[in-house]
């Protein structure tokens, strides 16, 4: 029986994410979806989703505050090859480091830094908030049925700058490119919220739940 664990480390509301993942798990026959902060649940998970809202250092601290949780995630993802999806700050923490409120170490699973969005055009607002159309740079199983021009919902002031071009799956334009999706091997991360991105987001969730990297 497949089990998808949405990792709950007291960093934002997981209720709507839980409902969206449960709905798509039902539609794709992807088994059970639970919300948990228990390392033993992560250890038995077949798929792991790491959400995160707020500031990078606060999320990192909150994650590290749960004994054994990050170690369990690392073991499952890096050693056991479990499919992993990071969302918003959960995606940004994949980077080498974040620079919000000083430097904070990321997981360094995907090389790069998280830096403030600074649009050249002063008329552009920060946060980058709302629907932006994806430009897909690289085919990926989780993006099956999603095409360049489809919209996703963003709300963030900091962005992941990848060190290695092959890790950049999709970006959006906001007076310059802003990273939308990063990934390598069994790891993928979306800056946007798929659970808030209407049909496109639900498609990405369904694809993740059936992904066999």
């Amino acid at each position: 029986m497949s089990l998808t664990v949405l990792v709950d480390y007291d960093s934002g509301n997981l209720h709507s994410a839980e409902k969206a993942f449960q709905r798509m798990a039902g539609e794709t026959g992807a088994g059970e979806v639970i919300v948990s902060a228990r390392p033993e649940d992560v250890a038995r998970a077949t798929r792991i989703v790491l959400p995160g809202d707020g500031a990078f250092p606060a999320c990192r601290r909150a994650l590290d505050a749960v004994p054994g949780l990050f170690a369990a995630i690392e073991e499952a993802v890096l050693h056991n090859g479990r499919p992993f999806l990071g969302i918003c700050i959960g995606m940004q923490m994949l980077a080498t480091r974040g620079l919000e409120y000083g430097e904070t170490a990321g997981f360094d699973w995907i090389g790069g830094e998280v830096t403030r969005i600074a649009p050249q055009d002063p008329a552009l607002k920060v946060p980058h908030m709302g629907w932006n159309d994806l430009q897909i740079h690289k085919a990926h199983p989780v993006m099956t049925g999603v095409k360049s021009g489809d919209h996703a919902y963003f709300v963030h002031s900091w962005q992941f700058r990848t060190a290695n071009a092959p890790d950049l799956i999709a970006s959006v334009d906001y007076a310059g490119p802003v990273t939308a999706i990063v990934g390598r091997d069994n790891i993928i991360g979306t800056q946007f919220h798929p659970e808030k991105s209407a049909a496109t987001g639900l498609r990405i969730i369904a694809n993740f739940l059936t992904w066999r990297p």
Binding site: G130, H151, A198
Partner: protein, 253 residues
């Protein structure tokens, strides 16, 4: 590129839509969950609930409503009305809101915005500013549904709450609210130009050209409207198509 957002707003009291709505094919047009779901399916970019009779006693009703709505919609949900502290923000976020809007409490104590933004991130903290024209080019904050003047300049207050960590401003013109005469464009332009965070224009939308004006002349990042959608005057799709035809980048999928 980033698209302009169109946001239908539901005034809610005791778990029901105030004044009702006039959708076809809706079994219970007074049920906020059903209405929100219909707006979601119709292409709304976000949905906003304003609890207009928020009291300590009926908060549970609102939390339950937010939870049931969040389960049914796949676009962001903003909730405002009666939000007084970062504990209120936390409770609404846990219930399923994506963003929470302060109003009078931010006027009384702007540090409540800072406390909430530090804790939960600016991305989920909206400050609703209700402003009235007091002289040409001068707007003052009013609280308590537009009844209570504060002597606070709206433009200065917008800058202040941005500095405190607000992620967005929901700007309502109390002169125009309910008139269907269009948004207060000089006010919208003044606030939009004063801050680097997104501004949602609100209060007065009566036709589709008003939505266009809020963006093109007012400089807003998003437009919010209630009655033109509730009473079936226009659909969300018609509104977005009209805005797109006027040259505004919209999400039309």
């Amino acid at each position: 590129m980033l698209k302009t957002r169109l946001i239908p707003c539901l005034d809610v009291a005791d778990g029901r839509v105030v004044k009702g709505v006039n959708f076809v094919n809706l079994v219970d047009a007074g049920d906020p969950v059903a209405v929100a779901k219909a707006y979601d399916r119709a292409g709304a970019d976000e949905i906003t609930f304003l609890d207009i009779h928020a009291t300590h006693e009926n908060r549970g009703t609102m939390f339950d409503l937010v939870t049931r709505t969040a389960e049914q919609i796949y676009v962001p949900l903003t909730v405002g009305g009666g939000v007084r502290s970062h504990e209120d923000v936390r409770a609404l976020l846990l219930a399923g809101a994506d963003k929470v809007s302060f109003n009078s409490a931010a006027v009384a104590d702007p540090d409540v915005v800072a406390a909430s933004a530090d804790r939960f991130g600016s991305q989920c903290i909206v400050v609703a500013i209700d402003a009235k024209t007091v002289s040409p080019g001068k707007w003052e904050i009013f609280t308590h549904g537009g009844r209570k003047p504060t002597g606070i300049d709206a433009v200065e207050f917008a800058r202040l709450v941005e500095a405190k960590g607000a992620g967005e401003i929901l700007l309502t013109s109390m002169d125009r609210d309910g008139t269907k005469d269009g948004y207060n464009l000089p006010l919208t332009r003044a606030i939009s130009d004063a801050v680097g965070i997104p501004v949602i224009a609100s209060g007065g939308a009566g036709n589709l050209d008003h939505l266009v004006d809020g963006i093109k002349k007012g400089g807003a990042s998003a437009v919010l409207a209630a009655s033109i959608f509730h009473f079936g005057t226009y659909t969300i799709g018609e509104a977005k198509a009209h805005m797109a035809a006027a040259g505004i980048a919209m999400r039309l999928e």
